[in-house]
């Protein structure tokens, strides 16, 4: 049987990836091409996708309520709109263990620094949903006391409503899942031009400095990052 070899184009479109994987399964992919295939197809693409799949299906929201929207937020874990069906049911009481901050209610100028600190304490990858009219645009309380959430922290999904129904919030969370799993380009780092600001833990150096947190100095070692996967 004659084996037909095709040159692998530099820019990999879907068809050529298909051909490559066919060759790989046949066992006819060799040397450099095999290396390249493993590097591109298996290591980065598939691993990133698997991590994104896992992250998107296990979003732990933070136990954090601000106002009346929090009442609606509570009922998304109740029987009717049960987000445990998607794996989001575990509300964490500590920002260190949470992935998602749902701003449920109006944010006053006095509360804004507190929320910002809580958001900063969350570990990457972290997401935020602005729930309701007050939080997104200060709503009916457009006065001296409130500040819209976009002014002090990045928001991934805005859920409109006053207050939004639990179904609307569940829809917003599913949108966030879509964004995490398929459409990372819609993330806030791209929107705010903040790629490379991920917090990373540097490895322990020979000088014994110990691990330390740094922002945007090297590629992230833990977790998924937009900057590293684009360059890899």
């Amino acid at each position: 049987m004659e084996i037909k070899r095709e040159a692998i184009p530099q820019d990999m479109d879907f068809r050529s990836r298909q051909l490559m994987s066919r060759d790989m399964l046949r066992g006819t992919l060799e040397d450099e091409d095999l290396e390249r295939f493993a590097e591109q197809a298996v290591m980065t693409t598939t691993l990133d996708r698997a991590v994104a799949w896992a992250q998107g299906n296990s979003i732990y929201p933070m136990t954090f309520g601000l106002a009346c929207c929090a009442i609606e937020m509570m009922s998304i874990v109740a029987a009717r709109v049960d987000i445990a069906r998607f794996g989001f049911e575990a509300f964490r009481a500590s920002p260190r263990q949470a992935d998602l901050l749902i701003l449920s209610g109006r944010v006053s100028t006095k509360m804004a620094p507190v929320i910002r600190r809580i958001y900063d304490q969350m570990l990457e990858p972290k997401f935020a949903i602005s729930m309701g009219a007050c939080c997104s645009s200060t709503g009916v309380f457009n006065n001296y006391a409130l500040v819209p959430s976009d002014k002090f922290m990045p928001i991934d999904v805005h859920v409109p409503g006053c207050p939004p129904r639990p179904e609307a919030l569940a829809h917003g969370i599913l949108k966030l899942r879509d964004k995490i799993q398929h459409n990372e380009r819609e993330g806030w780092r791209e929107r705010y031009d903040a790629v490379g600001t991920e917090e990373v833990v540097l490895p322990i150096t020979a000088h014994g400095d110990g691990p330390q947190a740094a922002v945007g100095q090297s590629g992230p070692l833990i977790g998924r990052s937009t900057g590293a996967s684009a360059g890899a």
Partner: protein
């Protein structure tokens, strides 16, 4: 509630103690109200407290802009035995908004007086810790006064995006 005659009885008792302490009485829609001299508020409240109105249900501020004296402090007193309520209103001027604190009588007046100071700028003399309570510490002005600008921010929606920033944005 005392009725209109009962209100006059209370007011007469206050006038008997100090004729200048009561500025007037109003009985409107079942609510008894006594306007008092702000400099005599402690004496009046002490007398009413011994008379049975020993519970301060609420303490709040009012701005009567543009009337003078502009600012008002309202004490809502409650007699729990007779189930009687009476409102005391003291008006202070905007230039010297000072009134004696009632924390010596009711320690629970601490937070309501701080809130009244926070929102209206009424200074309660003798208050143990007169700071802002709701607004941030570095906030300037007293937001519930009628001449305070309402503030707020222009919000960018999709419908006004182009008129604010132009189409190229």
């Amino acid at each position: 509630m005392p009725d209109a005659a009962g209100l006059e009885v209370i007011a007469d008792e206050l006038r008997a103690a100090d004729p200048s302490s009561v500025l007037g009485t109003t009985f409107d829609r079942g609510r008894a109200e006594i306007q008092i001299d702000p400099s005599k508020n402690i004496e009046v409240i002490e007398l009413l407290r011994t008379r049975g109105f020993n519970f301060l249900a609420s303490l709040h501020g009012v701005d009567y802009y543009p009337a003078e004296p502009r600012l008002g402090v309202v004490y809502e007193l409650l007699d729990m035995k007779e189930v009687d309520r009476v409102s005391l209103k003291a008006r202070v001027t905007i230039d010297a908004p000072k009134i004696t604190s009632v924390t010596s009588i009711w320690p629970g007046a601490d937070f309501p007086e701080r809130e009244c100071y926070d929102m209206f700028g009424v200074v309660f003399e003798g208050h143990p810790d007169l700071r802002r309570i709701l607004m941030p510490e570095d906030f300037e002005g007293f937001p519930q006064r009628r001449d305070f600008p309402i503030g707020g921010e222009p919000i960018l929606f999709t419908f006004n995006e182009t008129e604010r920033y132009g189409k190229d944005r």
